[in-house]
């Protein structure tokens, strides 16, 4: 390869950044094009600079390395770094992505870079792998927030802000009290990862937060609609199984 690998370091701790920089300093085929201290800046830098390689720390302020992946328009080669996170490790192993456990040696880092170079040469597509990684949740816990990006701004939506989610082909629209946000995730993902005590899949196209349900009305003989508590009194269709689930969750 003649061109240098355009490399970005995303890491919140200064000392950890210093170490990576000093390891990479004498590598002729690596060029560091930037460093970011948090996930917000990281997303912007990747989308703007389109690097070949990113060193990405998992635990960072604002948003985690995993959440960042969901917001990328451009998917570079990524080498993850983490100190100790059993869930992350499991995700890395299962999805065969490159990662470095802190503290790591220079040799270990170089061999990770070799693998990346190999992948670039063979033209392997990593986007799908990263997609799977971001969908994979090894922990038993339900998600407590969702990160979204509208044009150039990143929002963190805690799940209690979500009123309902609507399916739009490959995307979902998340409705909150102060707006709506599009996200590239499946309904299935939200159905399995949101706490079913609070969220019910009432229809093929809708997941609703129980606290926002104002009433349930019979619409025709065997079909119902949910009316939400908002100003517009939003009406959402309820399927047969959806109605059953509402009954089970709300005990009526």
């Amino acid at each position: 390869m003649s061109e240098k690998l355009q490399t970005l370091i995303i890491e919140d701790e200064e000392l950890a950044r210093n170490l990576l920089r000093s390891y990479l300093k004498d590598q002729p085929d690596i060029e560091i094009i930037g460093e970011c201290e948090n996930g917000f800046d990281g997303v912007k830098a990747i989308n703007d600079k389109k690097p070949d390689l990113v060193f990405l720390d998992i635990q960072m302020p604002k948003i985690t390395g995993f959440e960042m992946i969901e917001l990328l328009d451009f998917k570079p080669q990524i080498i993850f770094t983490t100190a100790y996170d059993q869930f992350a490790l499991k995700a890395f192993e299962l999805n065969a992505v490159d990662y470095l456990l802190k503290p790591f040696s220079k040799d270990r880092m170089l061999s990770a870079i070799e693998k990346v170079k190999h992948r670039i040469q063979s033209g392997e597509d990593t986007a799908e792998k990263l997609e799977e990684l971001s969908n994979y949740r090894p922990g038993e816990e339900f998600i407590d927030r969702v990160v979204v990006k509208d044009r150039h701004k990143i929002h963190i939506i805690t799940v209690d802000q979500i009123r309902y989610i609507e399916s739009l082909d490959d995307y979902v629209m998340i409705y909150t009290n102060d707006g709506r946000h599009m996200k590239q995730k499946t309904m299935k993902y939200f159905e399995t990862n949101l706490d079913p005590k609070n969220f019910i899949r009432i229809h093929r196209s809708y997941i609703v937060h129980v606290d926002h349900i104002a009433e349930i009305q019979q619409y025709e003989k065997e079909s119902y609609i949910v009316i939400l508590k908002d100003k517009d009194k939003t009406k959402l269709k309820v399927s047969k199984t959806g109605y059953k689930k509402i009954k089970e969750t709300l005990h009526f």
Partner: protein
């Protein structure tokens, strides 16, 4: 389990006294109310209330090795009938041997009283049986209560052990990574950090031995912990202390504060890009040490899930040590998070 009468002298004395009283009563009744000759009264009393109780004490063995729950009722009855017969046989033979020198040949006294003696022997067996079952039951009950007490103490100990905070591996590996970086850029600082980390770890290992430490020591350890974290986080972490000097002698459970600061760093410093201040204030209020730890946090990035496992463990540990609820108070002001610990003191500090 050894024989209750040899094992417990008080019981043996009561046992002897009981038969002496009954024996003497019997002697008096026979002699004065039934006008039986003194020799006969004496012989009768000795045979029934001295020899039988001596023989009868062995009945304990017949129940000792026959657990009521393990053996069927029919077998138990057969067993005791055989045992009672053997005992009565031995007893009656002994009576004969005892009476012989005093009673002439052909005297009907023995012959006439034989059926009632044998019957009495069986009845006495039953009475002894009940007595020993009662003793046995009482003994095993006492033992069970004692074992249960030991068990509860053991559980308490194990619980306390489990509730003590362990060093977070995340903290450890990140610190090691900082050291790895410093060895390149600033070896002296790297050395200092290795030493600080060692001191901190040594202190945290100490809590396997000691439950309580002086507050001054715990505080020193916290400052050490914060200095290690400060190397990692730099300006982002700002720690302030306001400690009343006479609080330093207070006693405090070992490593009870560290998880609170770890929490403050995890939710405060880690989740934001701005500087976060962790402010610690301490005052002594009569018989209690009051420690308040406040940290800012960015509530837009996460929904606090109430009490995490770290805080819950501290609450539980405090409850076990002081046997008192509500020694930990948590206040979430949306922009800052406050934890207050009240540590009861044996001595008045103010």
């Amino acid at each position: 389990m050894s024989h209750p009468l040899t094992n417990n002298y008080r019981l043996l004395i009561y046992y002897a006294l009981f038969w002496v009283v009954i024996g003497v009563t019997n002697l008096i009744m026979l002699t004065f109310f039934y006008n039986v000759p003194l020799t006969y009264s004496l012989l009768d009393t000795i045979s029934t209330f001295v020899i039988y109780p001596l023989l009868g004490s062995s009945i304990w063995y017949s129940i000792r090795y026959n657990n009521l729950e393990e053996i069927s009722i029919a077998r138990l009855i057969v067993f005791h009938l055989i045992a009672a017969s053997i005992l009565c046989g031995i007893w009656v033979s002994l009576i004969y041997a005892l009476f012989k020198p005093f009673v002439g040949e052909g005297n009907d006294f023995l012959k006439n009283s034989l059926p009632s003696k044998i019957f009495g022997g069986y009845v006495m067996y039953a009475v002894f049986l009940v007595f020993f079952y009662a003793v046995n039951y009482y003994q095993s009950l006492k033992e069970k209560v004692k074992k249960e007490g030991e068990y509860v103490a053991l559980i308490r100990e194990a619980e306390l052990q489990a509730l003590k905070s362990q060093i977070n591996p995340h903290f450890l590996f990140n610190s090691l990574n900082s050291i790895s970086s410093l060895t390149v850029s600033n070896p002296e600082k790297a050395q200092e950090m290795v030493i600080n980390l060692s001191t901190f770890m040594r202190y945290s290992l100490l809590h396997n031995e000691k439950e309580m430490v002086a507050f001054s020591r715990e505080l020193e350890n916290i400052k050490l912990y914060l200095s290690i974290e400060k190397v990692r986080f730099g300006k982002k972490l700002n720690a302030e202390f306001e400690i009343d000097a006479h609080c330093l002698e207070a006693e405090i459970p070992n490593m009870i504060l560290q998880p609170l600061f770890e929490n403050a760093i995890k939710y405060g410093v880690y989740e934001t890009t701005d500087q976060v201040t962790i402010k610690t204030t301490c005052e002594c209020d009569g018989n209690a040490l009051k420690i308040t730890i406040v940290n800012d946090y960015d509530h837009s990035t996460l929904k606090r899930k109430g009490e995490g496992i770290g805080l819950r463990n501290i609450r539980k540990r405090m409850e076990i040590i002081y046997n008192q609820p509500d020694l930990m108070k948590i206040t979430d002001n949306k922009t800052s998070f406050e934890v207050q610990l009240i540590i009861p003191q044996k001595q008045n500090l103010s």
